[in-house]
Symmetry: C2
Subunit: 284 residues, 2 copies
């Protein structure tokens, strides 16, 4: 596969979590594989949007004629890391009719009464759909580990259940793209501060953001463990440096383009006789 | 309210279905109230997209602090009239996190076993959401009337039920924007033909499109009746000329901007002590 414009290496290769990956050593304020600057990145994002949009349309079109493929983008990150921006700018550039977006909040009482995957399953994309999880089942091995809501044995059970569940999705035709947006603690401070100094952004701020921030090292440990346990062949993780929002968006866009591009999507031939329909049309 | 750029009259005033409205007399290939050309319209659409996006964000933000308002765009039209384009280009320009889109297909057996509004109710937007119905409960008084699947008495019951349902929505905080995209029979022929001469568009074509086309006059009668029965004060219809796709998109965008703009949306003040949080941040 040729490299996208401006890239010296494909972000999929550079950002994929493999054996021996260390989150502590992963950059936050870098643009791996990209030779351009912020202004170039914005241009690249705009130029590549129609490529992603067409791939999504083909995915959707195939499903209308029996295609079983779907895509699921799983987004995880610390607060303010830019999940919303990725959803708005990257996912937002494809046709909303083909997108199934689920934002996972604190579970309801009903959800809590079930196994942690219970609320996740119905949110998975149907054939042809581009699913997006804004937060996900990984919260159940992240915040739950950080706050001790699940013990070690239960966490082990959940890692295994997640891998099994994702294998099921893959077996049924879903391509899973897992992304952790990686910001530094300093960058988060800047962004929280920005929210507290702009009345149009107060609504995005919650005092609990600062509470959770105190657990930063525990979160990083929990993420490291997640990567070790669940960056599988069938559903690998990608850790995307996210201090530069423009890079993170571009990188996620390229990850999606690469995965969708690898599905060998085709425009469906249709299940009708084209010549006969053209003839009917003449009399219509 | 000042007029949007390029407009000599507001499309909301020109396109609203009032007393004595006649669909037969309504233009399809016109750009009411707009002084520009296609190229200007594309520019206007792009320029106004951030205005709509910000209004949507405020709507969403308010709901995070108890706001009960929502918006529902109801889209009805003959095949190929451009519902998909409106969803992609107009709705697609706002943050997907705030959009709840429902495409109504032929009802399932389960749906058929219930009253026609049963499947519609859960699709309505929650507070803060921008709901979109791509087709809607109006199919139950359109295709059902055309094919005689409901008799006159049942149709009358449904018109009344629709008005009651929409009143309920309005009473609970939903602003309803009902739009019929109005294309000519000739324009539909062109668009069907285009689909049948472009292999990347075969998937959008179905032989049943031509079948339904034969009922054109009956559909126009059914729409005329819908407008007479359900263009209410609380949820008026707008008939948008749609032979020019660029005009239809721009007009729907302006209808939405006007309705959202009229809600007096405000950025929430937040439910925390800003000064105290800023102080906490310094030590975080």
């Amino acid at each position: 596969m040729s490299l996208p414009i401006g890239f010296t290496d494909h972000p999929a290769d550079l950002l994929r979590v493999g054996q021996g990956f260390s989150l502590a050593a992963a950059p936050t304020d870098a643009a791996p594989g990209y030779s351009g600057k912020k202004i170039d990145g914005a241009e690249t994002l705009a130029e590549r949007a129609p490529v992603l949009a067409q791939l999504q349309e083909q995915l959707f079109a195939e499903s209308r004629f029996g295609g079983q493929k779907s895509v699921l983008l799983v987004l995880q990150a610390m607060d303010t890391a830019g999940k919303g921006g990725v959803v708005g700018r990257v996912v937002g550039a494809v046709d909303p009719q083909g997108v199934k977006l689920k934002s996972f909040k604190s579970p309801t009482e009903e959800e809590k009464a079930h196994d942690f995957l219970w609320r996740v399953r119905p949110a998975a994309p149907e054939p042809g759909m581009f699913g997006v999880f804004d937060r996900s089942h990984y919260e159940d091995v992240l915040i739950h580990r950080v706050h001790g809501w699940a013990d070690e044995q239960e966490l082990e059970r959940r890692y295994a259940a997640i891998n099994d569940y994702e294998q099921e999705l893959v077996d049924s035709g879903t391509t899973i793209v897992k992304v952790m947006l990686n910001i530094s603690q300093d960058e988060q401070l800047e962004r929280l501060s920005a929210r507290l100094h702009d009345p149009t952004k107060y609504w995005k701020y919650s005092p609990t953001d600062l509470d959770e921030r105190q657990y930063w090292p525990a979160y990083m440990d929990a993420y490291q463990r997640v990567f070790e346990k669940t960056s599988t062949e069938h559903a690998p993780w990608h850790v995307v440096p996210a201090d530069k929002k423009w890079y993170a968006r571009m990188a996620v866009q390229e990850l999606l383009i690469k995965e969708l591009g690898g599905l060998n999507l085709q425009w469906p031939a249709g299940d009708f006789d084209v010549a006969a329909e053209r003839a009917r049309l003449k009399d219509a």
